[in-house]
Symmetry: C2
Subunit: 191 residues, 2 copies
């Protein structure tokens, strides 16, 4: 058991570094950029609160677990803002290597369990992963509405780009939520 | 449904402020104090990783939900460091008022569900709440080991005080984990 606990604690200590990974979106009071650890908490709360927006087959507790660990690879691979230019293949390779190293700190069976959950999120095919991705895409929009435009201003984003880059993803997992949030965002861009 | 979503989004926007509530413990690299939102993420990960330290009757997914929302009242009531002096009755009254206001932003049935989960955590009587409290007490110890002493130095804490203020709580929900972590902490104080 000592070896098992040593491995688990090594993982829990290493992932503390997610608190230092900054995202494109500022927090609500616009005082600083959001970090990926507090973002992961916020979207886990989104999943809890907006559970009834999910299709009936979605298991919210699996979605919460998926969202809690979905950004851990950023400790090695960094965050890639949705409106920024980046090499998708290169980023994918970095994230796979990060998943190998970080989840590999855990005891073997647990490493496989976490890795599988992360793989499932990335593939965005199962109902749980599709809903998790929807939630993950919606939160930065609502944050930008709160902080006064945030990363939309920085990246000179248009409503068309939001429809293409965000809307098409959110609509798959949470169509009624998208309709509601899109109207709010369109209001911002029209003003 | 629009009213329901408006209420849920108002809550999700309001709790963004948890990212600005600072705790006594610095993050691992000692660059700044941890905030309560990223702390909530970290201990939810603790619950996922250390699930096999819980008694068999503990339902980890309920523990995760409890931990995700346990600190939300700090938005109004502030954080009370375990080693600091404060008026417990006054703090309790502040937290009850905060829970009324914050969970009260949600649709009625959901407000009651979240409030009950928070009440259960606070009462620390059910197996789920006892385990959640254990995890919540252990994380700052491991963080102080990572950051080089952190809030122990600031509050001039002794090993006896850790045994009394922390150990007695952790041992209730996770006795083997306490044995392991206590040895590490005692190593720090002996050096």
């Amino acid at each position: 058991m000592t070896n098992r606990l040593n491995a688990q604690i090594a993982f829990l200590q290493e992932i503390d570094r997610l608190k230092g990974i900054l995202r494109a979106t500022p927090i609500g009071d616009n005082s600083r950029r959001e970090n990926s650890a507090e973002h992961s908490w916020h979207i886990a709360m989104y999943a809890m609160v907006l559970a009834d927006q999910a299709k009936p087959e979605v298991r919210i507790d699996r979605v919460i677990r998926m969202l809690l660990l979905h950004d851990i690879v950023e400790i090695d691979a960094g965050d890639t803002p949705i409106h920024a230019d980046f090499d998708a293949a290169e980023q994918e390779a970095k994230e796979q290597a990060a998943a190998d190293r970080l989840f590999g700190l855990l005891p073997e069976a647990q490493a496989a369990e976490f890795r599988n959950l992360w793989n499932e999120f990335e593939a965005a095919e199962t109902p749980d992963a599709v809903f998790a991705k929807s939630i993950d895409r919606v939160q930065p929009l609502l944050l930008n509405l709160l902080n006064g435009g945030g990363s939309w201003i920085e990246y000179d984003v248009t409503m068309d780009q939001i429809d293409t880059r965000v809307g098409t993803k959110v609509i798959r997992g949470a169509p009624a939520l998208w309709q509601h949030v899109r109207a709010r965002v369109a209001g911002y861009f029209a003003s």
